[in-house]
């Protein structure tokens, strides 16, 4: 550990010294030389005869490194492994009178070098002028970082000082410097020059040498700012690397634990399955016996029902009529309630998916009803007919409503409908063709207000969770996968039964046992015990059907199958989780189940890795996409197939990852319509690999 620290220190020290450039004098070299990049500087650098910028960086760095590691320098640097190509290329002038253009297309002589006339289409005869459109100009930028400019910048009358580029430049520089070392080790090419070409400017003003424009040398100041930035960045990286390492450790532990849990759960599942089978058998026996008794009762029931039939039909008719009239006042209370909910659900389903959150917010209530429906309750049984009926009707009527509202988007209809439109409405609609905005915005807004009025007691998911205290901690952790994999309404119904079971049997609360996995055997024992006791009890009383006994068996069956389904759901969620791509070092493990938010003006952007991304405005949520994958070597997260854009593609978002000390979502942008771009700072991206490799490669 200590050696690494020392190396780090040395390495950053080198960079620091390098970018200060303090070992070199700041006096500018004669024009032609500097343009050429063959700067006859004395001392160490010149003895290396390095001509390309990389070599400069390298030589400067070496000087610094040598202070600490003189032995190494002598050995390694003497190899003269720099960017030989350029050096040798221009050196050719001393020995011969004509030289070939780099691309071999032509020859030129010494007087044609930088004579402000382009002889080589590749620009190799004019490295210091603007004559060749493909030319490159080398700018020393003493006190800052050297850059290579497009020839279009030479003597264009613009001094290079654009605060805008500064930050970008230095983001790049840090990487470039580091890469340069790699390059050196890998092999002596000047590939990074290409990188340097971008986003660069000449702060020393040497690109404006024709005297028409006087540029101030701003390198020292610009360099200082950049160095500050770089220092900060290095600090961030150092700290980030540590955090990242910790996270990876945790991820490994977490994954191991979950894998263990999964194995155990599979065992439990097997046992429980058997138990449930047996209970089911027993239950069916009991039910068979009950069947006889019930058949008799039913006969009587049937007669009674037949007598009531006409009455019921009336009600049905009433319901359907009132539905069409959008007036439910005449229906009696229980009908109306159920009815209302179905209607709302359907409405929501048909609504623009931007309103999705309403749907989910409605879930608790809806599931309440589905639970009710399942209970052996006569009243609900009777209701079933009308409910289905209204479902259909509701669908029709809401559909009608919707098409009525929607005509603004259906261009064909504009033609027919304009006659009946108000002038204002017509204006909006025609405008909407170009803008793609919905014309009935205000109407929709009203509608959503209405909805809120209708359901003042609607509660978001979280509140509901809190009500089921004991269950929450665990449920919360896994709600995403649950939501993903199963039909929501059914799932919810099932869950509530489970909740009931669990509340009654706190000893069976599984969260701790599952997670720790230590008490797994005791749990199994417990279950087996329970099973034994049940069968014992049941066996004692064979026939006739004892009501308390039957209830007991039923209850046990319900509870056990609930347990089973709980375990199964946990298994599937674990499987779901473990099959995700958490990165090469599992560094993204902690992203699972997390959401990152960023508020931008009126919108809140929510990015939930491995799940989805959305844009929330007040009460409306727009899905920006579902999790797709990491891209570009884990530097982007891609979410695809979000809500449809009017006249555009399905929404999608790309989240760029960069090194930061904590997970933080920033800079959400929509460069193209409905294609979003966001930035997420995260320690997961604070890769030490580059630093390390470079560092080690340099020193050893």
């Amino acid at each position: 550990m200590n050696t690494i620290r020392l190396h780090n220190l040395l390495f950053f020290g080198c960079i620091f010294l390098l970018i200060h450039g303090i070992t070199r004098s700041a006096t500018s070299a004669p024009l032609k030389d500097s343009l050429l990049g063959v700067s006859p500087e004395g001392g160490f650098a010149s003895s290396l005869s390095l001509s390309c910028p990389f070599c400069r960086i390298f030589s400067l760095l070496c000087v610094n490194v040598c202070i600490v590691y003189p032995k190494w320098c002598v050995q390694k640097v003497r190899l003269k492994t720099g960017c030989g190509a350029d050096e040798i290329y221009y050196k050719g002038f001393s020995s011969s009178s004509a030289i070939k253009c780099k691309d071999g297309s032509k020859k030129f002589n010494k007087s044609q070098l930088n004579d402000d006339f382009c002889d080589c289409p590749d620009g190799s005869d004019e490295p210091g002028t603007s004559a060749c459109p493909n030319g490159k100009f080398y700018c020393k930028n003493t006190g800052h970082a050297p850059v290579i400019l497009y020839s279009s910048r030479v003597n264009d009358g613009i001094c290079g000082k654009h605060a805008l580029l500064l930050t970008l430049l230095f983001e790049m520089m840090a990487t470039i410097v580091l890469r340069a070392f790699q390059t050196f080790v890998v092999q002596r090419s000047c590939a990074f020059e290409r990188g340097l070409l971008l986003l660069a400017y000449c702060c020393d003003g040497s690109d404006e040498y024709d005297g028409k424009t006087k540029c101030v040398n701003t390198c020292w100041e610009a360099g200082r700012v950049a160095r500050e930035k770089l220092k900060k960045k290095i600090a961030t990286y150092q700290e980030g690397v540590t955090i990242r390492r910790q996270e990876i450790e945790q991820a490994k532990l977490g994954i191991a634990k979950e894998e263990g849990e999964l194995l155990k759960l599979k065992d439990q599942e097997k046992i429980l399955k058997e138990l449930v089978e047996k209970l089911k058998e027993r239950k069916e026996q009991i039910e068979k016996a009950e069947e006889k008794e019930r058949l008799q009762k039913e006969k009587e029931e049937k007669e009674r029902k037949e007598a009531e039939e006409p009455k019921e039909n009336e009600i049905k008719a009433e319901v359907s009529e009132s539905m069409q009239n959008d007036n439910i006042g005449t229906v009696d209370q229980p009908h109306r309630r159920v009815f209302n909910n179905y209607g709302r659900k359907l409405n929501l389903g048909l609504q623009d998916s931007a309103e999705d959150h309403h749907e989910s917010a409605n879930e608790p209530e809806l599931s309440d009803h589905s639970v009710e429906d399942r209970l052996p309750n006569d009243g609900v049984e009777v209701n079933e007919g009308p409910v289905q009926k209204t479902e259909q009707l509701g669908e029709e009527s809401t559909f009608d409503d919707k098409t009525g509202l929607d005509t603004g988007n259906q261009d064909d209809n504009i033609a027919e409908d304009t006659e009946s439109l108000s002038r204002e409405e017509l204006g909006r609609r025609v405008a909407s063709r170009w803008t793609g905005e919905k014309t009935e915005q205000h109407e929709e807004f009203d509608a959503s207000i209405d909805k809120d009025h209708q359901n003042p007691d609607e509660t978001p998911n979280e509140t509901n969770d809190e009500e089921n205290n004991g269950y929450v901690s665990e449920y919360d952790d896994h709600k995403y996968d649950d939501d993903d994999s199963e039909d929501q309404v059914d799932d919810f119904g099932g869950r509530i039964i489970m909740i009931q079971v669990l509340l009654k049997h706190p000893s069976l609360m599984m969260s701790q046992t599952y997670i720790t996995g230590t008490s797994g055997s005791s749990l199994l024992e417990k279950i087996q015990k329970t099973v034994k006791s049940i069968f014992q009890a049941v066996n004692l009383f064979q026939t006739p059907v004892n009501i308390t006994e039957a209830a007991h068996v039923r209850k046990e069956y319900d509870e056990s199958s609930a347990k089973l389904s709980k375990i199964q759901s946990r298994i599937s969620s674990l499987r779901q989780k473990l099959k995700q791509d958490f990165g090469p070092e599992k560094e993204f493990y902690s992203f699972y189940g997390q959401c990152f938010e960023s508020k931008q003006n009126k919108y809140v952007y929510k990015v939930c890795p491995f799940k989805e991304a959305s844009q929330v405005e007040g009460y409306s949520t727009t899905r920006l996409g579902s999790w797709e994958k990491f891209e570009d070597s884990y530097r982007f997260m891609q979410f695809l197939n979000g809500d449809k854009c009017w006249n555009g593609p399905d929404r999608s978002i790309k989240v760029k990852l960069r090194c930061g000390l904590k997970n933080e979502l920033t800079d959400v942008d929509e460069p193209s319509r409905c294609e979003y771009l966001a930035l997420l700072s995260t320690p997961a991206l604070c890769l030490d690999s580059r630093l390390k490799v470079a560092f080690q490669a340099t020193l050893f």
């Binding site: 289409p121 264009d156 805008l164 986003l199 304009t418 204002e424 909006r428 793609g436």
Partner: protein, 924 residues
């Protein structure tokens, strides 16, 4: 399978209906009473005869009355047909002007509208004072003849009345005639009668009160010795106008001239688009060109008759002369028509622009590349796009901001959330020699807190509705009113709004874009203003509709001139246009689509605009609606680089399409296309000056340069940039080969490779990915600037390259025009205008400037660094530059420093002569 196919076709049909042109929303001829009436009239229906023909005040005057006067009178009861007054005037350069109006001495109900401010004041001074009337008589009737120009006469036949221009002499060939088919009709203003059904007009939910009843005018015009007619923009259709009536023409609408904001227009239709120029030019092999212009701003419909359209008619015109007949119908106004005798295509355009004005000379930056999108969202976006251009070393000159930059679509304001520091933003771009353009539309948000609205409503500056209240229509900001730009006072008030003081957040490097000025009214009839809305001087909107956008454009351009204290040439892009718009700025072809067909039709659209005086025009590169596939986008850049106005633009629903977003190779291709434009800027600017001086457009149909070559007459896939360069578009996906017709007898040199191709032949060429075919004509010299910069601004001092393409007699010539690129000083002679002539192995640069010669008002140190000689053999080794008497090398070099692929070409290396000087370079 068939089932599947039909389902697919049905689907296509559905898509077409749902996502394109809303045909039903616009009137067709049958729904337009005046058009329906005029179209159903039979040849010879006109019964008017000319009486009292005489010379008065230098004009020929006459009265038009119905032949059977008594009968007509009784039929019309209390509304007797009053005689019409006809005036014929002659102007220099072969222009005959014909006016027909109600007789003002008989106190008509109202003075009919004549469009002011279009005819340039200078034109009036060119009037010839007619003195003598020559009478002729033959079996066809009595003729009165006046002098028009050497070799041409203006003639009026009395009965039935007909006006024509002919070559001098009793048997002189006719050139142009009016009412030869007897379709003339003129509805005079009337008082409303009770229960008159045709009084009001309804279209969809809109009612037009028509307080003066029907008042249309229609007549036929014949072009003699014409093979084709061209002009009358704006339509998305072929260059040579297809017949709309006659045998073989199925149920076509006439060409409509009615400025409309058409959503997703289709690429081949006679339907009217954003602008209107009622000027038609004919061309034929045997005689050449003639032109007809009707100065009228009301809705116009024009039929082009196919041969044999009137076969059943008893009225037979002499058939020895080939002829194209046309029918012109207008809803209101007067007859104020101009006959142009040509005889060359350039003559007609020169004659037409002597009436309506020559193109303004744009600033140099405006002729370079423009980057636009609806919308660059905020300052960060602007900076980012700007720096990306630098990063990829792609030049651009102007970055545009669409409507979203404003605070609630209130023009002259900024959304301060998105653009907190607009001045700083503009200044940062200006530091790199780049400009910005913001949009300013004519609809003013009805918002009491908006200063423009407040002032305009207080001062009564809005157009009024039929009841006299401020007209209130719907556009981007919602409820809006429209400034009445016909009133000079309002224009001048408007112009003040552009001063840097008044336009908060603007800087001198900001220029303007006028959109929606047809005017577009989302809830109006046909998405425009009701025809019975009222303008300054009680002019009904129907009378001046087509000129509304023109006035708005004018007022805005005046505003920029005022802002710059008369020292800075304005740049204003307008969507709507009218004759004369060329004096105020550029126009573009509106909201096109990202389709190959739209790329194709952009060529005839731009050529037509050029023919009708509007030289500075272009189509949105990439196509406004929809996402172009990459190949289409690249091809569009390659073609767009030769548009006079070169701007990329995109709808906000489309994906980003800045040139670097399509992979390295495509970035390179688009960059190369843009570089071609920058390289040719000196040539383009010289052409813009030519348009400014003579009216001859920058982009020209081939037949304008080769009027005798029939093969060029209907070619609208290739065009000339000036007279030196021929460009052929590539309009199909994955094209492998293209047939290019190269006219004339001289060879053509491929611009990329220098390869020579024989003239007067069609060549089947391999299509390359990296460029579209472009050829330099032998016998020409093109000035280039081969160094690339971030914008045109930095190219100012860069040296020139001259490319000399020698013809068969080893000669060539060309021009170069240079000035400061921004001020009006050039009007005082502050420019350099050189003629380069190459003959007898000697290149000479001579002054083309004003006769004063001593042109010291504009100086340039620029030199010629390279001279390329194409078609020269044998190759000389040296050249002598005189008068400095210096020898320079001639060697083999590349034709293009970037992207050139061909063999080496002869290059005079570093002659370094100043473009401002006289010199010669002699090959040794």
């Amino acid at each position: 399978m068939a089932n599947f196919l039909s389902t697919f076709l049905f689907f296509l049909l559905f898509i077409n209906c749902a996502f394109s042109w809303k045909k039903d929303e616009f009137r067709n001829c049958n729904q337009t009473p005046f058009c329906k009436r005029a179209r159903s009239r039979k040849p010879g229906a006109c019964s008017l005869v000319a009486i009292d023909v005489s010379i008065s005040n230098g004009d020929l005057v006459a009265k038009l009355i119905p032949k059977e006067k008594n009968q007509e009178n009784t039929e019309n009861g209390e509304n007797p047909i009053k005689p019409l007054v006809l005036t014929i005037s002659a102007y220099q350069d072969g222009i005959l002007r014909l006016k027909i109006d109600e007789d003002q001495n008989l106190s008509p109900r109202k003075k009919r509208f004549e469009v002011p401010d279009v005819i340039v004041p200078d034109f009036v001074n060119k009037k010839l004072w007619l003195q003598r009337l020559k009478e002729e008589e033959n079996e066809e009737g009595i003729f009165s003849v006046v002098y028009l120009s050497d070799g041409y006469e203006g003639v009026i036949r009395r009965d039935p009345f007909e006006v024509f221009v002919r070559e001098s002499g009793q048997n002189g060939k006719k050139v142009l005639s009016l009412n030869s088919n007897g379709l003339f009709d003129f509805e005079q203003l009337r008082d409303k009668k009770e229960e008159n059904e045709e009084w009001e007009e309804r279209f969809r939910s809109h009612t037009d009160t028509r307080p003066y009843g029907p008042q249309s005018i229609s007549f036929d015009v014949s072009f003699y010795d014409a093979d084709f007619v061209y002009g009358i923009p704006e339509h998305a259709t072929s260059l040579a106008l297809k017949p709309t009536r006659g045998p073989g023409v199925e149920d076509s609408e006439p060409y409509r001239l009615f400025n409309l904001d058409v959503f997703e227009y289709i690429h081949d239709s006679p339907f009217g688009l954003y602008g209107s120029i009622p000027f038609m030019i004919s061309h034929g092999k045997s005689r050449g060109s003639s032109g007809f212009f009707w100065l009228n701003a009301a809705e116009m419909q024009i039929d082009v008759m196919g041969p044999g359209w009137n076969n059943e008619s008893v009225l037979m015109l002499p058939s020895d002369q080939k002829r194209v007949d046309t029918l012109w119908m207008s809803e209101a106004g007067v007859v104020d028509a101009f006959f142009f005798i040509g005889p060359g295509p350039k003559d007609v355009v020169r004659q037409y622009t002597s009436v309506t004005g020559k193109s303004a000379l744009p600033q140099l930056f405006a002729t370079a590349y423009h980057q636009c999108r609806w919308n660059y969202r905020d300052e960060e976006d602007v900076y980012n796009v700007d720096s990306k251009f630098d990063e990829h070393d792609i030049p651009y000159d102007v970055l545009w901001l669409d409507i979203e930059h404003t605070d609630g679509k209130k023009y002259f304001t900024w959304d301060r959330m998105l653009f907190p520091n607009p001045e700083e933003m503009q200044n940062k771009l200006a530091a790199k020699g780049r400009r910005m353009v913001t949009i300013v539309d004519p609809h003013i948000k009805r918002d009491e807190s908006y200063y423009i609205h407040k002032e305009a409503s207080e001062k009564g500056y809005y157009v009024k509705d039929a009841t006299g209240k401020d007209f209130d229509g719907w556009c981007w900001p919602g409820s809006s009113s429209y400034l009445d730009m016909v009133n000079p006072e309002i224009r001048s008030w408007w112009a003040e709004k552009f001063s840097c003081k008044n336009y908060v957040g603007s800087t001198p490097s900001l220029y303007i874009w006028n959109d929606m000025n047809e005017p577009s009214v989302f809830n109006g009839p046909e998405v425009t203003m009701p025809r019975d809305a009222l303008h300054y001087g009680d002019v009904e909107h129907r009378e001046l509709h087509n000129a509304y956008g023109y006035y708005f454009h004018m007022a805005t351009a005046d505003g920029l001139v005022k802002r710059g204290d008369g020292k800075d040439r304005p740049f204003v892009l307008s969507r709507a246009f009218f004759p004369g718009s060329q004096r105020y700025g550029a126009v573009w072809t509106g909201d096109n689509s990202a389709e190959w067909d739209h790329l194709r039709v952009s060529v005839p659209m731009i050529l037509t605009l050029g023919l009708t005086g509007i030289s500075f025009s272009g189509a949105d590169v990439g196509g406004f609606f929809g996402n172009p596939d990459t190949e289409l986008l690249v091809r569009w850049y390659q073609l767009g680089a030769y548009y006079p106005f070169f701007r990329a633009h995109a709808h906000h629903d489309t994906k980003r399409r800045e040139p670097w977003l399509f992979g390295e190779r495509n970035t390179e291709l688009m960059k190369e296309a843009i570089h071609v434009r920058y390289m040719l800027l000196p040539y383009f600017y010289t052409l813009f000056r030519e348009a400014n001086a003579s009216g001859i457009p920058v982009a020209r149909p081939l037949w304008m340069e080769f009027p005798a070559d029939e093969k060029t007459f209907s070619n609208d896939e290739a065009f000339m940039v000036g007279n030196n360069l021929l460009v052929q578009g590539i309009f199909t996906e994955r094209a492998k080969h293209v047939s290019v017709y190269l006219p004339g007898e001289q060879p053509w040199y491929d611009m990329k490779t220098g390869t020579a191709y024989e003239g007067g032949a069609t060549h089947k060429l391999t299509v390359l990915e990296d460029s579209i075919p472009a050829f330099q004509r032998a016998g020409t010299i093109i000035p280039r600037k081969d160094r690339f910069r971030r914008s045109s601004t930095q190219m100012e001092n860069d040296p020139y390259t001259l490319v000399i393409a020698l013809n068969s007699s080893m000669a060539a010539e060309g021009e170069l025009y240079v000035d400061d690129g921004k001020s009006f000083e050039f009007q005082q002679g502050a420019f350099i205008h050189r003629r380069f002539t190459f003959s007898n192995g000697k290149l000479t640069s001579s002054n083309m400037g004003t006769a004063t010669g001593a042109n010291n008002k504009f100086a340039s140190e620029c030199i010629v660094e390279r001279i390329i000689l194409l078609g020269l053999s044998p190759a000389p080794k040296n050249a002598l530059v005189e008068p400095v008497n210096q020898k320079v090398d001639i060697e083999w070099g590349p034709l293009l420093l970037r992207g050139g692929k061909g063999k080496s070409v002869l290059t005079i290396r570093k002659p370094n002569v100043r473009i401002a000087d006289d010199w010669t370079i002699k090959l040794l």
